[in-house]
Amino acid sequence: MNPIGSPTTAGAPTATAPPLDAEALKARFPVLAQTVKGHPLVYLDSAASSQKPDAVIAAVTAYYSTDHANVHRGAHELSIRATDQYEQARGKVARFIGAGRADEVVFTRGTTESINLVASAWGRANLGPGDVIVVSEMEHHSNLVPWHLACEATGARIRAIRMTDEGQLDLDHMDELTSDGAVRLVATAHVSNALGTIHPVAEIARRAHDAGALYLVDGAQAAPQLPVDVRAIGCDFYALSGHKMCGPTGIGALWGRREILDAMPPYQGGGEMIEEVRIDRSTYAKVPHRFEAGTPHIAGAIGLSAAIDFLNEAGVETIHAHEVRIARLALERLSAEFSQLQLYGSGPDVDRAGVVSFTLADIHPHDLSTILDHEGVAIRAGHHCCQPLMRRLGVAATARASFYLYNGEDDLEALVQGLHRAEKIFGIG
């Protein structure tokens, strides 16, 4: 497996990956076999949430049908089975992201909770007045607002790395921001949800560490489609969401370096996370259970494990090559076909995830979305939870088509035809 650390250049790490059969994979997703408003459903909103393959649905159903009980508590058969499957899922996640040990993986509700966990628990113990958190102006709100809360609670401050006009992070600017030694942690996405930019996370990790800061990677968009190796990246935290990678909603993970997690106070209190409780005080369990208060989303973890099997079966390198290819095709096709279409982010000469953000003439993205919906094409319109980025781009909203492993060139064609329909309705072209 090729670690994704440095910026990928056209075709480099993926040239040898076998081609992906989107049509065959699509057949594994029951939800995609339907028509919407009389048209075959074309789902181009996987950056918001991916659909679920039969294997994941079956794994969750099987767990509830035959094995469910609470974990880590009972000595009875079902509890033992549930615990086994839950802990095996943890190992599955660890291997999937190249973590050395399963106990470095904390199950959470998703990327948002993973980042909140670090901002709250690590932040409480490590931040104070004068300290700085560095983010970027391309971040999802889930990698901004938790830091706002941490700063409000501790007196720390936020600085943001600028984006270049090509939709890349300006690393020289990052060096400026970290040069005064006040930065305690850098937090960026691995892949931009709004623009599809693949950030050079290994390089950012190196620079963050040179500046004496930790590095947290928001992997919500990367884990579904890039080979991830947290040790090769060299980051300190990595957050991901199950529902964006073919898994259930409400489950995700935080990976953290063992020694850092060990030194962190609990995030939430409750059952599961304790060692010993007295009426007025308690001691806490070791990681990762220290951070998993209450009955966890057992079925979610088991579903996520099945999703990882599914992704491995399809081949993560293969998925990545497909994403890069279809993004390039989409960029080329859309700019060739529509003279009044404005694309955002890097051009087709740079590898990017299968995310294409655009506006078409004076048609508001919400109108575009409504018209495409009537053609059975599901896209996202809006600020994509990236209001600072939208301000930087000088737009209120964009339309975003995101392609995943079940989207082939026929789906791109449906998007193109839908956009022609929108032009016609708005009397353009």
Partner: protein, 182 residues
């Protein structure tokens, strides 16, 4: 279906909005935002003795929100506050898909928006300007001595979206899917 929503009149108001701009001396200004999509508008009313003497709006948004507010300003010019509230009630009935509202000549150009009632997720767009009007009238009525250029800053719109629309044709409650092939 789409053509019944994106009518020429709507696109005309979207591209050539009526009464867009600012008033020098508004009685009240309401800044309103649809938090779902980020559309933002400012509605300015000059009220003289309970009558809307002038109305202007600023802002940006989708064709439905912009056409709706443009048409609304046309309909409001010179009307009493009571008439404005009545007009709002009539427009809400149109958005609720009430049959009688579709024949309501009082609504004038606004009738062109009736197709939006079939798009539950877009009804809020059409109501953005009306939500601001509602707040403006309330502000006028709250103040017994009359307003002096009061400005009410970015409030997220709150007008209730109509109750859930009936399930679309072909919806199968058993499978919770749309018009699935048999």
């Amino acid at each position: 279906m789409l053509e019944s929503i994106y009518r020429e009149l709507i696109l005309d108001h979207y591209r050539r909005p009526r009464n867009k701009g600012a008033l020098d001396d508004p009685t009240v200004t309401i800044a309103m935002r649809n938090p779902l999509c980020g559309d933002e508008i400012e509605l300015m009313l000059a009220v003289e003795e309970d009558r809307i003497a002038e109305v202007r709006f600023k802002g940006q948004g989708c064709s439905i929100s912009q056409a709706s507010i443009s048409m609304m300003t046309q309909a409001l010019m010179g009307k009493s506050l009571d008439t404005a509230v009545d007009l709002e009630r009539r427009f809400l009935a149109l958005m609720h898909g009430e049959e009688t509202a579709k024949e309501d000549r009082t609504l004038g150009d606004l009738l062109a928006l009736q197709g939006v009632s079939k798009l539950p997720v877009r009804i809020k767009c059409a109501l953005l300007g009306w939500n601001a009007l509602d707040e403006a009238v309330r502000a006028c009525r709250r103040s017994d001595r009359g307003l002096m250029g009061e400005r009410i800053e970015f409030k997220d719109m709150t007008v209730d979206v109509p109750e859930a629309a009936p399930p679309p044709e072909g919806f199968d409650p058993e499978t919770h899917r749309g018009d699935l092939p048999a």
